[in-house]
């Protein structure tokens, strides 16, 4: 069967904007929690992480509305969020009242039901905390489900460097976590 060429009128601008709004809200629902957790690991408070996540998705909205590139959007989101978080951390450190929080190893602790997992996590956290910042970030981004190319985009590294960082970290962690 032959394809029929249709000449459709351009959708009105309001429809395009509404579609972008819906799209951003959908991505937000999926990526908000992982992004906020990751941002906290960069060294900002929960409240700041929430603000930065909001700003990040507003930037995404403007980015998509302006018809800019859409490949590797999750990498774009995390990179933008990371840059905003670093700026905020720097701004906070300049303020007198700011208390620079130490970079967290992962998500904040919560009442643990599984004692084995809790103990395991404590051991892992100690190792993770000792890792160089970039290695730690690779680890956490991967744990949040990012693909290597997305991690690479976020941290402005090559894909090979991401793989090397992760294998190094897991090799170090295997000395800890391989215990029965």
């Amino acid at each position: 069967m032959e394809a029929v060429a249709l000449s459709l009128p351009e959708p009105p601008a309001t429809c395009v904007r509404a579609a972008v709004e819906r799209e951003v809200a959908a991505i937000f629902s999926q990526s908000h929690a992982p992004l906020a957790r990751y941002l906290k690991s960069v060294g900002i408070s929960s409240a700041d992480a929430e603000e930065v996540a909001q700003d990040t998705f507003m930037a995404l909205f403007l980015h998509l509305r302006a018809g800019k590139r859409r490949d590797n959007l999750r990498g774009w989101i995390f990179r933008t969020g990371r840059n905003l978080a670093l700026k905020r951390r720097q701004a906070n450190s300049r303020e007198i009242l700011a208390d620079p929080p130490p970079p967290a190893a992962g998500p904040e602790a919560c009442p643990e039901t599984n004692a084995v997992l809790a103990a395991e996590r404590q051991r892992l956290e100690a190792v993770v905390r000792a890792l160089p910042g970039r290695d730690r970030e690779c680890l956490l981004l991967r744990a949040e489900g990012l693909r290597y190319r997305e991690i690479a985009e976020t941290l402005d590294m090559s894909l090979g460097a991401v793989a090397a960082s992760l294998s190094k970290s897991f090799s170090r962690l295997s000395n800890v976590s391989d215990r029965p």
Binding site: F57, L62, A109, A143, A164, S171, L173, S174
Partner: protein, 264 residues
């Protein structure tokens, strides 16, 4: 099979996480089947990754993002409602009453950082002549509703601005603009006014209006300090635009052709 070259840890990691293409992955698996050393390294890496993921997930605090989504939706809708600087001047104008009360208290915003710039009028003012000046008004004042229009710049004051910049004001070539906009507490003082050329690329006063609009909404939402907004706009409003809109160039719907306050 006993290859002289074992598989690198990073390639094993790529294989474990499904990041290799199918041919590469098959080759890696074949090697591991035959090579005890690589097989063992792969097992340790995979095991560590699995345990780390499990421990990481066990610490998740489930947070339904409903409220966050609602907030983001509201912000997006807001950005759509106020696209360019068209309505900005009328809505976000000077809180005149506050300025009357606080006229004595004014703050030079950007004087120190900018001493050695060019002395020409462009999309950015000369910081020696126009460092930026704001009234000491509170955020609440700036954000109060039903604010009156930005005060007209008296022609004598505008003429002083032109003299300061050694510009002979050809009709419609320049608009005397506030550096810190009155909507952000900017003062109608010669230190806060500069001749902005009409024909100077894409960084037009409309684009600046859009920034002022955006900064004011951030200030009023408690997202940034009023003083910070004043400082950023005074020190380099183009850089501030690029920062807050995350773009290098003005967004298409911030660029407009008609000036709203022509100076003739």
């Amino acid at each position: 099979m006993n290859d002289a070259r074992h598989i690198d840890d990073s390639v094993l990691m790529l294989e474990i996480d499904g990041e290799l293409d199918s041919a590469e992955a098959a080759a890696a698996r074949r090697h591991c089947e035959a090579c005890l050393e690589c097989r063992e390294r792969r097992r340790l890496l995979a095991n560590a990754a699995e345990r780390f993921d499990a421990a990481y997930r066990s610490a998740f605090r489930p947070e339904p993002p409903d409220a966050s989504v609602a907030r983001l939706r509201a912000r997006m809708a807001d950005a759509v409602r106020t696209p360019a600087g068209t309505a900005a001047k009328a809505r976000f104008a000077t809180p005149a009453a506050a300025i009357g009360a606080a006229a004595a208290l004014i703050i030079v915003v950007g004087a120190i950082e900018f001493s050695g710039r060019r002395a020409v009028a462009g999309p950015l003012p000369d910081a020696r002549l126009t460092p930026g000046l704001a009234h000491a008004v509170s955020r609440d004042r700036v954000c109060a509703d039903n604010t009156p229009d930005a005060p007209e710049i008296p022609s004598e004051l505008a003429a002083q601005v032109f003299r300061g910049y050694r510009i002979d004001p050809r009709p419609r070539a320049y608009e005397v603009d506030y550096l810190i906009s009155p909507s952000l507490g900017g003062a109608g003082d010669i230190r806060n006014l500069w001749p902005q050329p009409y024909a100077e690329g894409v960084w037009t006063s409309r684009v600046k209006d859009a920034l002022e609009d955006h900064l004011r909404s951030l200030v009023c939402a408690g997202r940034i300090e009023l003083a910070a907004a004043q400082r950023e706009i005074a020190s380099d409003w183009i850089a501030a635009y690029q920062k807050y809109f995350m773009v290098d160039k003005p967004l298409p719907d911030h660029i407009a052709f008609v000036k709203d306050r022509p100076w003739e």
